[in-house]
């Protein structure tokens, strides 16, 4: 019996090893291979493992997610075991082990953004797209994600789109039109998250 019978605790971090699907055979394009080979030189020769996060980002850039086959490929590149790669992939939130939509909408849900309506933004996006956080629309266009603090709390509520697009101060009422705008115009619909003095 649980120490505290009313609450089922210790379920969140329960160790569950879910092997990623192997997927198609994976190799870097020659361009990505060249980038990786350069990045490895930033670290001492016996410390290739330091480049593992970069190696995985390159995988994700190339095929959108990290498959089992690509983990094996990265293990060969890094010269470590596939289990070590899996260990890293399963820890960091920015790696996806399943295909995601063209636009991953990462809504910051932590305090500063929540105080200014981030929960409502997620609800509105969810209603507009017809999916719950963590899911992808059937047409493969959008994945909705709730993420923890993105480090841009003065522009709350903040969204990160994929890992390179930002949209700041999205009012919940604008969430629907924002989705339409993003679908129509792509990244041109985003405000960015810069002190973009040069563009003003």
């Amino acid at each position: 019996m649980s120490f505290h019978p009313h609450i089922e605790y210790a379920t969140f971090h329960r160790s569950e090893r879910k092997l990623a699907e192997l997927g198609d055979e994976f190799r870097y394009t020659s361009e990505h291979q060249a980038i990786f080979d350069e990045l490895v030189t930033h670290y001492p020769p016996d410390q290739r493992k330091s480049a593992i996060l970069y190696a995985l980002f390159l995988v994700q850039k190339q095929q959108g997610y990290v498959s089992g086959a690509s983990m094996r490929f990265v293990a060969e590149q890094i010269r470590c075991t596939p289990a070590e790669v899996e260990d890293v992939v399963s820890y960091y939130t920015m790696f996806y082990t399943k295909p995601v939509g063209k636009y991953v909408l990462n809504v910051c849900r932590t305090l500063s953004c929540a105080l200014l309506g981030a929960e409502r933004v997620t609800e509105e996006l969810s209603a507009k797209l017809g999916i719950a956080p963590g899911q992808t629309t059937p047409d493969g266009m959008f994945t909705l994600m709730e993420v923890e603090c993105l480090g841009a709390c003065d522009r709350a509520p903040v969204l990160m789109i994929n890992d390179d697009g930002w949209h700041e101060r999205l009012a919940p009422e604008q969430a629907g039109t924002f989705v339409d705008d993003l679908r129509a115009r792509g990244y041109a619909a985003l405000t960015g998250c810069h002190l973009h003095v040069e563009k003003k």
């Binding site: 605790y9 379920t11 969140f12 960091y92 409502r120 923890e148 709390c153 810069h194």
Partner: protein
């Protein structure tokens, strides 16, 4: 006398991030030139005399940290710059790296020279790709102009700066977890000692410094330690960046001296300009989500490491989160515990299991299904996390619960008595989906 910004004075000017701008307008790389004419130990002494304290959260004197870096060893030494800015409410390094990247690069180079390192790694969080691009451009410019690389200014000093991208882990902001992540592993903390100054990156002596800390170093070398110390209260010298977010009219990053009071920062015209929508002030978290709450009565405290500590909280990373009277404190604790539960690296049991347990208890109270004994249980679980983990994360995760119980126990009791949330604000989720479904 009005305070003149020295770290962020040019950030809103066009092309402030370029090398040309930095050289012409900001005495760029003069600090490094001067540093290379001094002995490394003299620089450490200057930084010690300036009283510069780490800007990442702990406020540890930077000069001492550098002095502790093991000297008599054949191993290489490293600077690891902590640019993993992920403490909720903090976004100061974001501005510095995006608009004044050369100042950081210069700080890294001086730091390397001072401790005898040849390589600095800037560990930047994976979400800051747009910042990383600016930083990479700046590093490339610095190499081309001979401010980095081999035999800088003919002094015989070599220095490389590399940028290392993280991939989404709050815990990577802890210094030993950052080192683990830099080595290509899960970002989980190490047992200390040995401290990074003895065994850090690749088990070599390492100084781990925050972005803002390193940005202050060129200014100290250039203007002298007395100038730096004179900018703030005793032992709290230098410029400080304050990140103000939440229910204020003008959230943003503001540079001020640590003489400035919390009230000025929240209500002052040149800072956040007071509460949004004319609401009443309720509470402030003065140093990122990991520190205790302060109330209206504490607002006249100067925002310095020592003053805030005396008032019962911590300056931490100087992320000020301001809350108006629509904020339910049970909800606040629940929101933050969702964060800590998710970000716990899982290495130490009290934090991994306790965080989840606290979150579930808070959920139950927030939904109005709690019992009075849950309050004691919350207190008991939280106090059993504090001090029982390898890193400060455990204490940080327990803090939102302990501080809300301390100041707002009546709100917890009201939830339990009335069987519902007594302060359901308009800006919170309307449906059940986000009210703790996951």
């Amino acid at each position: 006398m009005a305070y003149e910004p020295v770290l962020t004075n040019h950030v809103r000017e066009p092309n402030a991030f370029t090398l040309d701008f930095y050289l012409q307008k900001a005495r760029g790389y003069e600090g490094l030139r001067k540093a290379l004419t001094l002995k490394p130990n003299d620089i450490i002494e200057q930084v010690k005399a300036s009283g510069l304290r780490g800007r990442g959260g702990a406020g540890f004197p930077t000069g001492l940290k550098w002095q502790f870096v093991l000297k008599d060893t054949p191993k290489p030494k490293y600077i690891a710059c902590n640019a993993d800015e992920s403490e909720p409410g903090t976004f100061k390094d974001h501005v510095l790296m995006e608009r004044n990247p050369h100042l950081l690069i210069e700080g890294c180079a001086i730091g390397c020279y001072a401790i005898g390192a040849k390589v600095a790694y800037i560990y930047i969080r994976g979400e800051f790709l747009h910042v990383q691009e600016t930083l990479e451009r700046a590093v490339a410019e610095a190499y081309r102009a001979g401010h980095l690389g081999k035999n800088i200014y003919g002094s015989g000093f070599d220095c490389d700066v590399f940028i290392h991208r993280g991939a989404g882990a709050y815990e990577a902001g802890e210094e030993t977890a950052l080192i683990e992540s830099l080595e290509g592993k899960r970002a989980q903390p190490r047992l200390k000692p040995p401290f990074p100054a003895v065994e850090g990156v690749y088990n070599c002596p390492t100084a781990v410094n925050n972005v803002e800390t390193l940005c202050n170093v060129p200014l100290i070398v250039l203007n002298g330690p007395e100038w730096f110390a004179g900018l703030g209260p005793e032992k709290n010298g230098g410029p400080k960046l304050f990140c103000i977010s939440g229910h204020v009219k003008r959230p943003g990053t503001y540079e001020a001296s640590m003489h400035t009071t919390l009230r000025d920062l929240v209500f002052g015209d040149q800072y956040a300009q007071g509460m949004k929508d004319g609401r009443a002030f309720k509470a402030i978290i003065p140093g990122g989500s990991s520190v205790p709450i302060l109330l209206e009565k504490d607002l006249d405290t100067p925002a310095s490491f020592d003053h805030i500590q005396k008032a019962g909280s911590l300056l931490g990373s100087a992320g000020l989160i301001v809350m108006d009277d629509t904020v339910c404190m049970v909800w606040l604790a629940m929101n933050l515990l969702h964060f800590y539960r998710h970000e716990s690296c899982g290495k130490c049991t009290p934090c991994r299991e306790g965080g989840d347990w606290l979150y579930k208890l808070l959920q139950r109270v927030e939904r109005g299904e709690g019992q009075m004994k849950d309050i004691d249980l919350l207190f008991g679980v939280a106090t059993n996390i504090v001090g029982k983990t390898l890193c400060a994360f455990g204490d940080a995760a327990a803090t939102p619960v302990l501080t809300t119980l301390n100041h707002f126990r009546n709100e917890f009791e009201a939830h339990i008595h009335e069987g519902r949330c007594t302060l359901p604000a308009q800006w919170r989720a309307k449906g059940p989906m986000l009210a703790g479904a996951h």
